[in-house]
Amino acid sequence: MTVSLAVPDVLVARAQAGDEAALEALFRAFETPVYNLVRRMLRRPEDAEDVLQETFLEVVRNIKQYRGEGHLWGWIRRIASTKALMRIRRDQVRQTESLDEEPGKPGMHIGANLDLERAFERLSETSRAVVWLHDVEGYTHEEIAEQMGKSVSFSKSQLARAHARLRRMLDEGAHA
């Protein structure tokens, strides 16, 4: 998903002044990109909803600190991805590398995109996070490593393993 969201400076200024309507307008502008990002990283939809809420709470609390350097989406995205990664770390105990088949959902077998989406959903949360941040959001391995508190080689090997799994799952799906 490519995001190119332009937000008027005046709206940001009003939000920084504490105008609730402006803050809601920012929420409306970014709720879907934020939810999409964290939902792709996290396995459970309810966790993604919680992170969406936590992200915007931090955005409205710290919007005064946004100095207009870089795109606002970049600033918000960083908050969202950090919070999603924190949740992954916090819940690591329940995370598993198991790629057990999840119960099928109606309509999930139609089209190549949905096959890839289903395979992606079966990756571990750490793998999903690395793949999404690197391949879709364009983060470097250095940035991912910093956000995850891991090494650059960890990020690289997670990405390679995740792609190897995706390839294997898609191959198995094609030959099933």
């Binding site: 803050l23 995109n113 390679a160 390839r167």
Partner: protein, 192 residues
């Protein structure tokens, strides 16, 4: 014949591959196909439709924000206020020992604990500085969770049963203690 690993393919995609991998890919049809597959998977991931939140979360954010603003406004006098509150609660409990349910008495006690922790936090949080990005992230995360809980409490205070409120307030006390620990650790480092 040796082929590229997935890490080699990733490095080729990023323009950071080894000399061997760069040479190999020019002559190996199998690895060329693997690299093309990698490009296609990434393109398909980028093309996935946006997932939309199933529920509107703005009301919850707004409630939490208002609760947080209200909390900040009243904390300047929290220390003296909570002492008065504690004295009042003690007097009520002494004068009317049989009129309150256990849950209600526990609820009152937990609210008092929460107020006391709030006061203690104020003493540590004199300058708002933190030691590191990690400490800042931990503190911000805890403050967010407390704010969200405060938003829930604002919504539920009038309608919920004591048992449910007790659970929410106990959760708040737990988070406040974690926040206290995070702040106290910082205070020890910076000598506050």
């Amino acid at each position: 014949m040796m082929h590229c690993t997935m890490e080699d393919l990733g490095a080729l995609q990023a323009g950071e591959a080894s000399v061997w991998a760069r040479r190999h890919i020019t002559t190996c049809a199998a690895c060329q196909a693997e690299l093309e597959g990698l490009y296609q998977r990434i393109a398909q991931l980028k093309a996935l439709p946006a997932l939309r939140p199933p529920r509107d979360r703005w009301p919850a954010v707004k409630s939490a924000l208002r609760a947080q603003r209200s909390r900040r406004r009243r904390t300047w006098g929290a220390w003296t206020g909570s002492l008065a509150l504690a004295a009042t609660i003690a007097a009520v409990l002494l004068m009317q020992p049989g009129t309150q349910s256990t849950a209600h008495a526990e609820l009152t006690h937990v609210k008092q604990q929460s107020a006391t922790l709030e006061d203690s936090l104020q003493r540590y949080d004199t300058d708002g500085r933190v030691l590191s990005g990690h400490a800042a992230a931990v503190v911000a995360d805890l403050e967010d969770r407390i704010s969200i809980l405060d938003g829930t409490l604002v919504q539920r205070e009038q309608s919920a049963q004591d048992a449910e409120l007790l659970q929410l307030w106990q959760e708040r006390v737990g988070l406040m203690r974690e926040l206290m620990n995070a702040r106290a650790t910082r205070a020890r480092y910076v000598g506050l």
